[in-house]
Subunit: 233 residues, 2 copies
DNA sequence: CGCCCTGTTGATACGATTCAAATATCGTGG
DNA sequence: CCACGATATTTGAATCGTATCAACAGGGCG
């Protein structure tokens, strides 16, 4: 439940012009001249599993591009309960609300070891005034975020627990080859799907027994995608 | 279940300069000169209860500002089930995805009699190139939409059915004075909260019996806001 | 080695769904 | 304006699924 001593490390200044995920990144359309306008350096940071990137309500000063890893966004309700409202991975942006809001809307925590680029919001604001492509790219990001939120509602918050688990496995497999997918704690799994830890665990165990998934290493699963798909068709 | 012959009516060309919700509208910051750039007229439309405004997957050509009424956005799953993913009301925008997407992400249907202004997406795209305030306003709208989606996940898709119903009643009361709130069918209520029609109905009946809400007219409720709040604190 | 944390499993209680029936409401045409 | 049929809502009883509480197994770490 409680996660203490999160751990974060600075790993260098980003070289955006030679970024290896450049084509899917916020700055993909920027010219070399545009980069001259970026005065403050863009830092690269590494977070360990469980490390908090920012907290809900904290002053929002930066947005982040995920280079590798998996990040959860958590929201807390007044009654003390909480729910994971999104999972973000390579090339996704977290903290995009900093452009238009003073504070972060969620807590962001690394679920897997994660590398980020930190973009000071001032930089983004300046660039987006002069660069309409960046603006369009930003809009597309908002759209993507909203689409994911909608999927969360329809796929991860609706229907019986087994279907929700299956849909999440399929979602996690989307970006990895041959049905590989890396999971995380049963507690977080429950918080994604609006289920208890025990139910999440039971469903995973049952899928394993029925041969839909196997677990070569801890939390490294192999999914029988076609049959899983059939389960939730 | 089935709603046929939805009904829509053109009620005039909008006079944006003298709009009575101008301060909360997308064009609030536009100058008179900006409006000269708006070549195509902005139509005002009226929709009856149950009328479809656009369908999921349809070619997205316009976005709409809600002047009065209540609109549901529905998403359909491959297995045939559906879920209402957002409710939108006065000053909200629907179809904002048309700016960056070819097709609408949801079906939009009027739950109450509804008046809209239809803004051709071309107009928005042109204006947002030259007008950085419109830019910023658009971003703020995306942010608002995303925040609402997050509320949907945490408040309307999590926890026991009674709490979900109560949270929705509080949400509906937010924009109306003294705990008034206008509801809609139990079926839609269920589709908002991820519950069956029967469960939604039972919860409403129980809240009524316990005195938390009363129903002076059909689907016109009076809510005891402080005590309802206490229920979900 | 033993402790703590996470995950798994079991038994039971509770809550939501399902199916069915009765009642209320709405819209329409007489 | 009322009566009728269609539709929506409410209620009931049985079933099913999930939460809860509790116990236990396994792995990692001091």
């Amino acid at each position: 439940m409680k996660r203490i001593s999160p751990n974060e490390a600075w790993t260098g200044v980003a070289d955006c012009l030679n970024c290896n995920i450049r084509q899917s990144v916020l700055f993909s359309d920027l010219s070399e001249a545009d980069f001259d306008l970026v005065h403050r350096p863009i830092d690269q940071l590494t977070y360990a599993r469980g490390a908090e990137i920012y907290g809900m309500g904290e002053k929002a000063t930066s947005l982040f591009t995920i280079r590798t890893g998996l990040v959860k966004l958590t929201r807390f309700l007044p009654d003390g309960t909480h729910r994971i409202v999104r999972l973000l991975r390579k090339t996704d942006i977290i903290g995009i609300e900093s452009i238009v809001s003073d504070s972060y809307s969620h807590s962001a925590t690394a679920l897997h070891p994660t590398e980020l680029c930190r973009l000071p919001v001032g930089t983004i604001r300046e660039l987006s005034n002069s660069n309409s492509r960046l603006f369009h790219e930003l809009m597309a990001r908002w759209h993507r975020a909203l689409s994911e939120a909608d999927r969360w509602i329809t796929e991860f918050s609706t229907g019986p627990s087994r279907d929700r688990v299956v849909r999440l496995l399929l979602w996690l497999s989307e970006v990895e080859p041959d049905g590989r997918c890396e999971l995380f704690s049963r507690e977080d799994l429950g918080a994604v799907l609006g289920l208890t830890t025990e139910t999440a665990s039971r469903m995973m165990a049952e899928l394993k027994r029925q041969g839909y998934i196997s677990e070569p290493h801890t939390n490294q699963f192999l999914c029988d995608i076609p049959n899983l798909r059939r389960l939730v068709a």
